[in-house]
Symmetry: C2
Subunit: 437 residues, 2 copies
């Protein structure tokens, strides 16, 4: 394969030079952090009084972790390290508690963020001849503007379509020869269902690639989208606390996400002990941003579960690769004492080809017990009026799930296009059990 | 007043130099246009074979007009003058016919557009210390991204909130000390109504200015917003065919919109004869874009009705000022033979202080006659359960309207907050009369 690099020098920097770069950048970040109300308190408690307190990269472990809770506590300006008048943009994720998590960017921060997104897009083989349809929300959410700026930097033709309105999306794809899509994986599956419904054939389109992110999804979901649309799907990882998209991205080798280590220091820790896991083992991703001056965030506990690949990538990049995020530690369901991630269910059902493109997981109390129901749509070739094959399919799903997750769920089959569709992050789990206080 | 200039030299260029600049730029635009399928045909029919065919600015009259209909006919690539791979963005307005009007921009085009928006914003007295809440749709619509890029260029803190969700808008305004808003005038009025409803006092906020555009509005609406929010409201004019915002804008003198004549050539013509009107007279605005390479559009009939101020502005800018757009020639209603613009109704009712912030105009057939109904909300101090003052108010509105527009409308009063609100361009007129074919 003919690999291409947006910034060959930085992307292929030898590990020792990359680590020297990180150490230097970390010292700068510590200096910046000490200018914020939050870190000036927290770092000094830990005996860190300046960049010089950090002698080696291992010293990062002297820095206390930062959690989402603390970001909220610091709202609105506790994490700000530059004068307010030098801020050029803010992004905010509202969350469910009402207090937003807010990130500030300087003009320079936007440029650096944009360059990481451009690098990510280019690494998948895209260039200025591509037509990029950005089917994701613009505005306070970082996904829309983040990809928009990065794709413009690459020089692709950007269609800022946002999500929704599939009829119009198809019109753009046809009329402008869209080659690359960006959306949540659930919206990509929805688009594909709608295509069949509206008789749009993939041969009429010129799609080659899609970037899928903003929600965890399984390898089988990727394969399904790739086969149905005859495209390559690239895994995108980012979170608004770390700017948004452009934190880690798959290259043309499509085998794990390169985390851009000149922009971020990545650690993987055991979420219970907070100690580093052994190389290659799974744990919680902890990130320190190196490429932002306005809002320095150190050792941020992402809650995302992943692990490093240990072998180098065939593309020649020296930046390590993360495995597909299997879920957030917050997402874990405990069902009658059994730990379960929604991604485990997705993996099973998306591998069954009679199953359609949408599903929903419901957990409720039934007497003293938890009851798991998996609702899936059926594929377009299955007719809802013939009970026999439907019952066989239900039983197949139930048995396959039980074999994998050790829980026997109730299975419901729904007609294609009838389960609710979200334009942003899909809401896949409805848990109606009373919460413990 | 202490006027400030983003690009002092260009904004105060002596008229003769400005016109020399326009002539040179027009010649370049003609060359570019000749590279498009549409204009290579149309210009050659008119005997224009190159930039050299244009000897003086008056020669612009040799160029045929372009209409929205022709833009649609040319969809998707008939107006494109650069290789497809050099396009970096497209904007599209869908309109009602299904065929979008599409505008392409190169990277250079985006930079120049951004600089005109930055110039417009700066002309109102804003600078990098301001906090700018962009309460308008992002994406294919040009208003969101256009202002976003321009405000970032000025270095303001941009909150890309988009429209909707007033509770969240208020939270941002309070928490980040928003000083400048951008929205449609109807959404600004809606925001003000919601503030009172939710008990947000303007003293808690730090608002100083608002930019209002994307729909025509009256001077009385401006005054109402200014008084209720205790801010300055600046009139913004643009249209997606001419990039979007940044075509014409009010300066600190707040008395007419400077059209940036180094970016656009403006003519005002009689919409029937298509001949130029006398200086200062009202007619249809015709625009030629000088600041875009990808999609050159010459002598575009905007349908917007306006006139030039003849006297120079106190701010010292040499770029002529347009009067507030009174409506689009397409918007004109003919009611029982009487010509009427919705803006005339707005002007009357917004001057009546007991009238609330929202209104709707309905036209229907009643037998052979047209029947005009004006629905307005009542102000917050009027109680709907006391019939006498309500009847008096109704009669006052009816009489004042009749005196101005020579039609006696039916008047309906509605409780504050009950008429439909639009987040984008307000839909103020519902005309249910059968269309003549």
């Amino acid at each position: 394969m003919n690999f291409q690099y947006w910034n060959r020098r930085m992307e292929t920097l030898p590990r020792d030079e990359l680590e020297d770069y990180q150490l230097e950048a970390l010292r700068v970040m510590v200096e910046r952090a000490l200018r914020t109300p939050f870190y000036s308190r927290e770092l000094q408690k830990a005996g860190i009084t300046g960049g010089a307190s950090i002698k080696s990269l291992d010293d990062i472990r002297r820095i206390p972790f930062t959690t989402k809770h603390e970001l909220r506590e610091a709202y609105p300006y506790g994490m700000l390290s530059i004068p307010k008048e030098d801020i050029v943009r803010l992004h905010a994720s509202s969350g469910t508690t009402g207090v937003p998590t807010t990130i500030y960017l300087s003009g320079e921060d936007i440029k650096r963020w944009t360059s990481f997104v451009a690098r990510s897009i280019y690494a998948t083989g895209c260039d200025k001849t591509d037509v990029f349809q950005n089917m994701i929300t613009y505005g306070l959410f970082t996904g829309g503007l983040g990809f928009h700026y990065g794709a413009e930097e690459v020089g692709m033709l950007v269609i800022p379509s946002g999500p929704g309105n599939t009829a119009k999306q198809f019109q753009f794809m046809k009329d402008f020869g869209t080659t690359v899509l960006h959306a949540t994986p659930s919206f990509l599956l929805h688009v594909e269902s709608k295509m069949r419904e509206e008789g749009v054939r993939r041969e009429e389109l010129r799609l080659k690639r899609a970037f899928a992110g903003a929600e965890p999804y399984s390898e089988d979901t990727r394969k399904r989208i790739e086969e149905l649309l005859a495209i390559d799907v690239f895994n995108s990882y980012g979170l608004s606390e770390m700017n948004g998209p452009g934190v880690a991205f798959e290259c043309q080798a499509k085998n794990g996400l390169h985390i851009w280590e000149d922009g971020y220091i990545a650690e993987i820790v055991n979420p219970d002990t907070l100690e580093p896991v052994a190389e290659g083992e799974s744990g919680e991703l902890v990130l320190t941003i190196l490429c932002r001056e306005a809002t320095p965030i150190l050792r941020y506990r992402t809650r995302d579960l992943t692990s490093f690949y240990t072998e180098p990538c065939s593309c020649g990049r020296t930046h390590r690769r993360l495995r597909r995020i299997t879920g957030r530690s917050d997402d874990m369901l405990i069902i009658n004492g059994v730990n379960l991630f929604p991604s485990q269910i997705e993996e099973v059902i998306m591998a069954i080809k009679e199953v359609g493109n949408n599903y929903l997981i419901q957990v409720e109390k039934e007497g003293a017990l938890d009851r798991l129901t998996v609702k899936t749509e059926v594929g377009p070739d299955i007719f809802m009026d013939d009970a026999r094959p439907l019952n066989a399919l239900k039983e197949k799903i139930r048995r396959t799930l039980q074999a994998t997750i050790s829980i026997s769920p109730r299975v419901e089959l729904h007609e294609s296009g009838t389960l609710p569709v979200s334009e942003g992050k899909a809401k896949r789990v409805i848990d109606t059990r009373p919460k413990d206080i």
